[in-house]
Symmetry: D2
Subunit: 363 residues, 4 copies
C-alpha cells in the first residue's frame, strides 16, 4: 500500500476519444473512493513545467464522459528529456526533466497518472528512472501500443472510419468508380484493417503487407467485368508498395512524431485510374478520426482501465502501464512498452477472416 495523499494526472500526445472518461474515472475514484487529491495538469508535461495545474473537484468531471478531446488539454511536445518549447516564434528543444521533477515536489505530487501513447510512455520511462512514481494508461486510436491487445479510442476511430467508408460506398456504386479512402494508423494497419472489414471494403492496404499496384488494378478490373459497379479501397496511411517506402506528407521537427505520413491514398487512386481506365478518386479522412463522442465500448474500456490504474497506484505498484491481455485487465512495465510498435501479423485472425470473405490485400 502506498499512502498517497495527492496525485497528478496528465494527458499527452494526439487527441483520442475516451480521454475524458479516463480523467473522470481517475477523479471520481481518486477523490470519492480513495480520498486523494487529484491535481489536473494542463497540456501534458507543458503544464507541469509552467505550473498550470489545479486540484480537481468532482463537479469538474461531471458531464464530460461523452465529450471528445481532453478537458486537461494535451501537447505533442514529446518527452521531457527532449522537449519542444516555443521561444520568440521559433521552436527549440531542451531537457526539462529537472523542472518536471522539481514541480512534482513543489506541488506535492506523490505519483502521476500519465495517459498517452508510445512516445509518452518512453518519456515516462525516463522519469521513472529518475524516481517519479508513475502509472501509465495506454491511449492511441491506432492501437499500435505493445503490451496491450486493445486501447480506448481505437473502437471509436474504427467506427468513424467505417461510417465514412459506408457513405463513400453509395457514391462509388452510383457512379461506377474506384474510391480510395486513406485512414490513419501510422506504421500499423489496425485501423484500416478493422474499418475495412467492418464496412465491406474490397481491398485493404496496410503497412504490414506491402502491395502491388497491378494486383490492386486487377481486382478493380475483375470486379468491373462481373458487373460490380464500385471498388472500395481502404488504405492505412503507412501502407506502401512492395519495395517502396512509406509516403511522407511532411516533416515537422517539433513533433514527437516528426514525420507525418500521408499521400498514399492519392497515389493509389491515380495509379489505379491509369492502369484500369476506371474513374478513381481518393479522400483523406483526417482528424475526424481523432474526435467525437467515444463509443459505448470505449467509454467502458477507458473507465475500467482508469479504475485499474488507480488500484495499482494505491497498491504502490508503480512503473506499470495498465493493459488488456486476453480479455483481462493486466499491467506491463512501462519500460517494456516504450518506443515499440504493435503491428498486424500477416496471419492475424482478422487478416485471415478478411481473406476468407474475398477481401484482397493487394499482394
Amino acid at each position: 500500500m502506498a499512502n498517497l495523499r495527492r496525485i497528478g494526472i496528465l494527458t499527452a500526445g494526439g487527441d483520442c476519444p475516451g480521454l475524458n472518461a479516463v480523467i473522470r474515472a481517475v477523479v471520481k475514484s481518486g477523490v470519492g473512493k480513495y480520498g486523494l487529491e487529484v491535481v489536473g495538469i494542463e497540456d501534458g508535461y507543458l503544464g507541469l513545467i509552467e505550473n498550470r495545474m489545479h486540484v480537481m473537484s468532482l463537479a469538474e468531471v461531471s458531464n464530460i464522459l461523452t465529450a471528445g478531446g481532453t478537458v486537461l488539454g494535451s501537447s505533442n511536445k514529446a518527452e521531457p528529456s527532449n522537449f519542444a518549447i516555443q521561444q520568440e516564434g521559433r521552436w527549440v528543444r531542451r531537457d526539462v526533466t529537472e523542472e518536471v521533477l522539481a514541480n512534482c515536489r513543489n506541488w506535492n505530487l506523490e505519483a502521476l497518472v500519465v495517459i498517452g501513447g508510445d512516445g509518452t510512455m518512453a518519456g515516462a520511462a525516463k522519469l521513472i528512472e529518475r524516481g517519479l512514481k508513475i502509472v501509465g494508461v495506454p491511449k492511441t486510436i491506432d492501437n499500435d501500443l505493445v503490451g496491450t491487445d486493445i486501447t480506448f479510442g481505437h473502437d471509436t476511430a474504427v467506427a468513424t472510419a467505417a461510417e465514412a467508408l459506408d457513405k463513400v460506398h453509395t457514391t462509388a456504386a452510383s457512379h461506377h468508380r474506384v474510391m480510395v479512402v486513406e485512414l490513419m494508423g501510422r506504421y500499423a494497419g489496425w485501423l484500416a484493417l478493422r474499418a475495412g472489414l467492418a464496412s465491406g471494403a474490397d481491398v485493404i492496404l496496410i503497412p504490414e503487407i506491402p502491395f502491388r499496384l497491378e494486383a490492386v488494378a486487377d481486382i478493380c478490373q475483375r470486379r468491373s467485368r462481373i458487373g460490380k459497379r464500385e471498388t472500395i479501397i481502404a488504405v492505412g496511411e503507412g501502407a506502401m508498395p512492395e519495395g517502396g517506402k512509406v509516403f511522407i506528407d511532411h516533416v515537422d521537427n517539433n513533433s514527437p512524431d516528426p514525420i507525418r505520413l500521408g499521400g498514399i491514398g492519392k497515389y493509389v487512386a491515380q495509379e489505379t485510374e491509369r492502369l484500369t481506365g476506371i474513374e478513381s478518386r481518393s479522400i483523406v479522412l483526417g482528424h475526424v478520426q481523432r474526435g467525437g463522442t467515444p463509443t459505448a465500448h470505449d467509454r467502458i474500456l477507458a473507465t475500467t482501465l482508469a479504475c485499474h490504474a488507480m488500484e495499482l497506484l494505491v497498491a504502490g505498484q508503480f512503473g506499470q502501464m495498465v493493459a488488456v491481455q486476453q480479455g483481462m485487465l493486466k499491467s506491463v512495465p512501462i519500460d517494456q512498452v516504450a518506443g515499440k510498435i504493435h503491428k498486424v501479423s500477416p496471419d492475424d485472425g482478422l487478416v485471415c477472416a478478411a481473406r476468407d470473405i474475398g477481401i484482397s490485400f493487394g499482394n
Copy 2:
C-alpha cells in the same frame, strides 16, 4: 476434412444486429473460398419443415452487411422437438424432428450452420444426437450465453441503450427528476451494466444483485441534497428487489421463452417517487435494442465468428459452437452450452469499476 458440397444456414430466435454479417460471411467464404453450395433456410426451422429454402448467390449477400435484422427471417418457435405451429388460428406444439431430418436429406444438406441463442443451441443439441452435422454461431443481444465471453449484437444493443440514457440525461437534468430506464437482458444484467457504465448512470439495477428500494431512494435524496439535479437509474428487465421475484409483463406459451419480463422500471419509478417526493419517470426502451445497423465492432465480430464456423465445418469439427474466450476465437461443444445462462458475477471487473466511480447497485 469433411468433403462437403452443400450446407444449410438458418437464423433462429430474437432479432440481433449482425445476423446479416454472419450470413454474408458464410456465403462469401462458403461459395467463394470453399466452393460449397449454401442453402438459405427461411424463418429458422420453420422454413426447413415447410421447404422454404434456396441456394444463395453471392449477389444476394451484397450490401447486407450494414442492415439490421436477418435476410433469411427468423422464428421464435423454439426447438424442433417441441415446435409451435399455427393451425386454424390456434398454436399447437408438436415434435417436428423427423421432418427436419428428412428435409435435410431431401435437400442434400450435409451440414448446418445454426445461428441462435441458448434455446436454439438446446434444439441443435438434440438434432446433433440424431446425427445432424451442425456448427453453432452464438447470437444474443443479452450476452447471456455460456461458453463465450461475448457475442455479436451485444455491443450494438449496449450502444443503443447508452445513447438513450445519454438523451434521457439532459431531460432529467433540466427538470430535477429521477429517470428510470428499463433495458433488456433477460435474466442477466450485462446490457444494463454496460449501458449504465457507458452513459454515466447513477444507479444500475441488475438481476444478479437484488436491490433495496430504500437504498435507491437514499441515493436519489443524497444527490438532490448536494445539488445534483437528476438521478439516472438503468434497470435490467430481470432485476428484482431483495427477497422479491422478477417482474412478469406477460406469458406467451407459444414462445420458446414463454415468460416475457417487464414492469420493474415502472415499479422502481413509482416507489422512488413515493419514498422521496422527487418526480420520477420511467421509460421502457424495448425492441429498438434489437434493431438497427450493427456497430463496426459487431460487424467485425460477426464476420470473424462466421469465418471460424466455416473453418470448423470444412474441417469436419461438428457439434461445436464458435466462441470468443480470452480474446481468442475458440469453440465449445454445443451440448455444454444449451440451456445455460451466463450471468454477471457480483465481483466482475465491470461491477467493481462501476462501484469505484460511485455507481450504486442499490444494495
Copy 3:
C-alpha cells in the same frame, strides 16, 4: 430603439433539443453585439421568484451548442398566475405574479426573453398585460404552436423517432410481426406524421384523423397476404379511434399540462393482434424524443430565432413571439398564440404525400 442595459432569459416547459443554442445566441449577440448584460434565470419562473439568477458570461455559453437540455434548467410549474410550488411535501398553487414583477425590478431586468411552448406563452401574455417587456421564442418538439410553421426541437424529435422506427422495422420484418410505436406530439400529429413518413411506416395514426381498428387490421392482413412480413404503425400519443377519446396515462394536477396522454399504442397492438391473429407488439418511445444533441437543422433554426428575438428586443418591439412563416423569420403578438394548438389539417401536403405512396391513416 429600446435603450436596454440588462435583460433576463429563462426557459420553461418540457425539455427540447436546441434550448442551449438559443441561450448561447442570446448571450453571444446580447453581450457581444449589443453590449447588454444578460441575466440567466434558473428553472424558469421558479428562479425568478427564488432569486436564483446570475449575469452570464460568454465563457458560460462556450461549447453548449451541441448539448441537449438547458443549462439554465426548466420547470413545468406553469404560468405565474397559477404557479405550483412544493410546500412541506405537498404541491400548492398560488399567484406569484407580483413576486415576478418585483424581482424583475429588483434585478433591473428591463426585458425578458422567454423560451417556451403554448403554456409558457399564455403565462407571458399575462405578464405583458402587467407591463413586462417580453419577447417570446417558440419551443416545442411537438410543433403544435400556432403562429409559426416550425419550431426548433421538432426536427430532432422527428429524427429520433424515425431512427427508432427504422430499428423496429428490421425486427418486425425478421419475425412477421405488427409493430406499433407510440410517439409524442400531444394533441397534434406532426411528430408521428413526419416520423412515419420519414421511416416508411405503413400506417400513421394521428389525433386529427380518428381511425377505425378494422381498417388498421385490414391493412395488416392484406400486407400479410401479399407476403409483406411486417406492418409498422406509428401512433401519435393523442390519436384516438373514431367516436372514442384520447387515452390518458395519468393525471398530474401540478403540471401545466395536467393530463398526460399515453396508452394508445398498447391498445392498438392488442386489438390488432386480436382482430388479425398476427403477433403484434408495441413500444412507447418516451422521453428520448426530448433529449439528445440537436440536429444541425435545429441548431441553425434555434440560433436564427434567437438572433431575431434579440433584434426585436433592441428595436423595442415587445410582446411578440418570433416565428417562421413561409420560410421567413417573422413575429406574432404573443397573446394571439397563447393557449392555441397548431393541428395537422387532414388535407395537409404531408398527409396527401403519405396517402400517395400508400400509407394509411386507418380511416
Copy 4:
C-alpha cells in the same frame, strides 16, 4: 389531364442522399395510385441510349428509403446534346439527342421524371424543346439551384459536415490549433454557411464573400490572446481571397462540371500558420458529404417533391421543375432554372445571424 400509361425515371449528376426516396415515391405513387408503368432508366441518360432500363415493381423500391446513393445508378456525362462516351479507352463527346428521343419512343415512355442538378436541368430543357414531356426534380447537396429555396440532400450534407466540424472541434481545443475544414458547395456557400453555423465555427469563408487572410489571421490571434485554445474555420471549396480566384484542384473535360474545385482549405491553413505562428491544419471532407442515409428531413422532402412531380405529370403540366418556395410546394419552368446558380446573398438572414453571434466571414 395527361392520359399516361408509361413513364420513365432517371437520376443524373453527382450522388445525393434522398435519390432513392424520390425513386421510391415515384414508383409507389405511379404504380399504386395512378396505375402507371414506371420504367427505371439506369445510369442517367446513358441507360436511355444503351437500352438499359426495365419496368419497376413495387418490391424493387421496398426498403430503399434509408439507403444512400441511387438504385438506378447515375452518370456525370452531362446533357445529351454534348454527351461524353468512352470509346476505345478515350472519352469523346457527341450529340445523342436523337437516340434519346428514339428510345423514348421505342420504349413508349410518354413522359420522363428527371432528377438532377442545374446541368441536368439544362439538358432537360433542350429535350423539352424537342418535344419530350419532362417533369424535373431538383437535386443537389450544394443547394445551388435557382427556383427552389431548398433541395433534398442538402440537409444531410450539412449534417455530415457539421458532425465532422464537431469532431474536429475537440481535437483543435485539445491542442491549441487552428483547424480548417474544406467543405463542398461549388460556387455557392450554403453548405459551409449552414454547417459552420450549426457547429459553432469561428470563421466561415464562402465564395460570395471574398476574404482577406489578414482578417482571418487576426481572429486566430485575438482568440488565442483571450485564451481560446482553438479556432475552427469552415471553408466552402469555392471560397476565394479578395481579388483572387477560385482554387482549382484539377480539370476533367469529360465531366459536365469539368473544373473540380479544391485546395483553398490547405492554402488558408498554410497562410494562417505563416501569419500567426499558430499550428494550423486542414482537412478536406470530400465525398462523404454526398453519401450516407438521408436525414429524416431529407427523406420527407424528397418524398413530397416526388409526389408533387407525379401530380404535375398526371395533370399534364410538363416542362416544370418542382420546387419549394416560401415553405410551399410549387413549380418553375425548367428553362428558367437551367444553368443558373443560387448564391448566398451577403445580407442573407443566415449570414446576419452568424455575424450577430460573432462569427467572422474574414472580410
